[in-house]
């Protein structure tokens, strides 16, 4: 090569050029794909909510409804039944779908007096009502989130879906798997005297078939203690925020 690659000036020019080229390449990719990615995320959220209601792929009950049918089925089962709950009062609005639990969490962190907006989706399937509550928490490495649907007495979990950003594959990542989340179905979130308990992911629970529905606990995953504790905290806190509103509905 005709030039000296060891010179300081060359090094600096190379570094600057590299940053500009790579930076614009990434910015271009990100901005040209943004709309598609946002649409995919929207579809995924619809699929998640439907899944927590037990609306799944007709062939495999452990799969989401197909992406191309998500909008249609969402309109059918949830439709306009979307609410924003603030301070125990609900307002019916489709904006509920666009509320991100993460952003609400951030706002509360910045301003402790902020009145959190809680999105709530009420689905109807075969004459039964499903109160779907979105939630978000922390696993071992990164964020975890989920959707839990409750019956109209706000006592029993009717369905659940959990997902994660970066839990360990084969261990914490298994919160996504059917054998973990299905244990939540039928589990009670209240203790015998009717006080709110949430659901604990418990080591040594010894109830693999989940026959004890009233112990407010499900079996933990081996090798995923922190992720399990994260799910416990997320479910407990996530549903608790809705309790004041549920109390008014019960009356």
């Amino acid at each position: 090569m005709g030039f000296n690659t060891d010179k300081n000036s060359y090094t600096i020019i190379f570094a600057v050029a590299m940053v500009v080229v790579v930076g614009s390449l990434l910015a271009f990719t990100a901005s040209s794909l943004r709309d598609r990615i946002a649409a995919n995320k929207r579809t995924e959220k619809q699929q998640n909510i439907l899944f927590a209601m037990g609306v799944t792929d007709t062939e495999d009950p452990n799969e989401f409804v197909p992406a191309e049918k998500a909008q249609e089925l969402f309109d059918k089962y949830v439709g306009d039944e979307q609410y924003i709950v603030v301070n125990g009062n609900a307002q019916k609005t489709k904006e509920a779908f666009d509320i991100e639990v993460k952003k609400e969490n951030d706002k509360v962190k910045q301003d402790p007096n902020y009145q959190r907006k809680l999105p709530l989706f009420i689905g109807k399937k075969e004459g039964e009502e499903y109160y779907v509550v979105p939630m978000r928490g922390n696993g071992l490495w990164d964020a975890i989130w989920g959707y839990v649907s409750l019956d109209k007495e706000f006592k029993t979990v009717k369905g659940a879906f959990f997902d994660h950003k970066g839990e360990t594959p084969g261990l914490g990542a298994n919160i996504k798997e059917a054998y973990f989340r299905d244990d939540f179905i039928g589990e009670s979130i209240l203790d015998e005297s009717g006080n709110y308990q949430g659901i604990t992911v418990k080591k040594g629970n010894g109830d693999p078939k989940n026959e004890r529905k009233n112990d407010n606990a499900v079996d933990a995953l081996a090798g995923a203690t922190i992720t399990g504790d994260g799910v416990t905290a997320m479910v407990k806190k996530g549903i608790k925020m809705y309790q004041p509103y549920f109390e008014t509905l019960k009356k």
Binding site: M1, T5, D6, Y10, T11, F14, A15, M18, V19, V22, L25, L26, T29, A30, L33, R36, I37, N40, T43, E44, A67, D163, K165, G166, E167, T168, P169, G170, L171, A173, P208, K209, A222, G223
Partner: protein, 230 residues
Amino acid sequence: MAEVTEEQVKVKEPKEPLFSKKNRKLLTDPLADNNPITIQVLGICSALAITAQLKPSIVMAISVIFVMGVGNIVISLMRNIIPSKIRIIVQLVVVAALVIIVDQVLKAFAYTLSKELSVFIGLIITNCIIMGRFEAFALGNGPWKSFLDGIGNAAGYGVLLIIVAFFRELLGSGTLFGVKVLGDPIEKTGLYAIGYENNGFMVLAPMALITVGIIIWIQRSRNKALIEDH
């Protein structure tokens, strides 16, 4: 006495065929006798993290093969213009940019697949095999050779991941690809009916290290040439 022109001094090298013996060795050596994990001891960290089950191991293997192949070509094409003082940074930028672009494209066009891969994206960037091969090979060799070297090393890494994951999933969870091959531990069927228990220890990361250790032991006892003198 004729003047010796430069042309005549240059020894004409015969053009190497694409799959010459040397090139094939680049591809096959890392699979066994120069395996990145057992011999070069690169990429152990991700091998520990994701080998609890077979499926993620295979996904990881494919992702690394792709990133290594393309990354090695890019670095090899740039090898004469990269300033040596910041070469490691340049390598990092190349692999990070590559991985992010792949991630974004998958998110837009194959969303379900990208969900499956999400965890690995970060792990690929930190995989020392990639940086190791950029530094040791691609910086000093042509694109085609570098491509073969990248594919070979990534495949060698993948093969080992799959072997480790096979034993860890089988002994730790009693499943392969999530299928209960040893019977049902809850219903007590198959092997479990006669008192077999899953070894929960196999699910934890330290057992991956021990499994890799056993593989290294077997490999070196079969091929004494691999044993280093100390």
